[in-house]
Symmetry: C2
Subunit: 264 residues, 2 copies
DNA sequence: CGTGCTGTTGAGGACGATCAATGACGGTGG
DNA sequence: CCACCGTCATTGATCGTCCTCAACAGCACG
């Protein structure tokens, strides 16, 4: 599969970067031309370290994650990747060896591969492209910060709810508007910093609240409003622009009246 | 204080960016020339949102943090800032409004102020400068990821130890080699996602282990080796280059022999 | 010499981890 | 077609970490 990508697949990347300001058609063409190879992966396969790491990947279809393995076998998932996301790009900017970080396919995935030297050239010829991709990386950082709040300060129920909201919102941005979150409880546990057992109990609670369906293995959100209010979800950190204003500030003001002023 | 900065203060920024690859003197001069104003702040003052946010800050002296306030008054500190760090720069790249994020001085600080339009121009004339600053932001993301592991998967003792290691290492990079961490228990608690009370108990444990001194209010590390081994600290995520190889991989292999292979 | 802010201590309880076992399901090969 | 296996979901019981509340002590500041 060498040669030019067919439009529909490179399209997801272009579409994504357009939402972050890549408006000139010329830049978009340059971007689309960067994907020269593609590859298919099954669940559990590593994405990064394909060759001698002189390239990185763009997720085209499927779900993946960036994670780190700790001594003892524990895994911390930093973030999930959806079509249009870059996998392993941070190594292009900051190349030194990075502990035990890796990216892994969580479902059947297809990825596009971009070589460093190709993007080197693209950045020289299309400075705007570089800036927009910088934005992509900053958006990822923004997501990381929110996840930090999640792990640091939210109890399990809200934490899981927040995670689910984020996945729905991010999939909606790229045009996937199912209410199904294509993950399993194990992945969620590793992202939420909770044990699988506890995730399972939280799920039962969410089902009892009518937020999740109880169809066996698929995670389906039945009541998005409720979910957002549990999570106190404010999707602004996803920088989705006007596309998705309805993801903003779903606040249940019932119980916090006087204490808002406490921190002056 | 309009006009050119005096060298020693802009110097900290140049020095910092040199460790990330800003080697051409011409670029360095351009960088130093960006700081046109400076300002002093006392503990607790906000750094970002100085004017109408058409600028960002470089921390020159003191300690600061980037954080978010949650409903209920809780605070999550994302990261601490030391001299040479950029505060609020992410808004330059990704300008949309960001929830309740802010940066705050944690001690007496002085900051340099850089206007967007000045750095716009600098990036055009010195593309390399832009790339190096991109690296700075990616380094921050790397720190965020490690903090995520910390909150998600490490128990309190290791978590606090890890946080302390990081602060020591980061201060060492910029030439501060005291064993004093210039923070208080409250700040540490908000960064570690623990309650102040629990932080205090962890501190007592660390003192009992001889790792921390028990001089009243200042946090002084007496046994860095021990601290690193408690935290299983591997400073590679800080990308400090060869400067600080001794921050790498301090592992106490005494108790995990057979189970390392468990996750194949 | 009060008044804050920070650090310290104690008691009690909640949240979430761990361990261990069982179920449900899909795929595979006989 | 069925037996087997691996993965993922579920359940119960127990335990420990960490939180909350509440009070007090020390120090720095005006």
């Amino acid at each position: 599969m060498v040669g030019m990508m067919k439009p529909p697949e490179a399209g997801i990347l272009v579409r994504r970067l357009r939402t972050l300001g890549l408006d000139r058609e010329e830049d978009q063409r340059a971007l689309a031309g960067l994907i020269r190879h593609k590859r298919r992966l099954g669940r559990g396969q590593e994405i990064v370290d394909l060759d001698t790491a002189q390239n990185f990947a763009v997720l085209l279809t499927g779900v993946a994650c960036l994670y780190k393995r700790l001594r003892g076998g524990n895994r911390q998932i930093y973030t999930f990747h959806y079509p249009g996301d870059l996998c392993g790009f941070h190594r292009y900017v900051l190349p030194e060896a990075e502990g035990e970080e890796a990216a892994m396919a969580l479902s059947e995935c297809s990825i596009g591969i971009i070589r460093y030297r190709d993007i080197d050239r693209a950045f020289e010829q299309h400075p705007k492209l570089g800036f927009v991709i910088w934005r992509v990386t900053m958006l990822e950082a923004s997501i990381l910060r929110e996840r930090l709040v999640n792990l640091g300060r939210r109890p399990a129920l809200e934490r899981v709810a927040h995670l689910l909201c984020e996945q729905l919102a991010r999939r909606e941005v790229i045009g996937v508007s199912t209410s199904i979150v294509p993950l399993n409880q194990i992945d969620l546990a590793d992202a939420a910093g909770l044990s699988v057992v506890h995730i399972n109990r939280i799920f039962q609670e969410l089902r009892k609240l009518g937020v999740l369906s109880d169809k066996g293995r698929t995670i389906e959100v039945l009541d998005k409003e409720r979910l957002m209010s549990i999570a106190e979800f404010d999707g602004r950190y996803l920088h989705m622009g006007d596309a998705l204003r309805h993801w903003e500030v779903a606040i249940d003001n019932s119980s916090d009246e006087g204490n808002v002023e406490d921190f002056t």
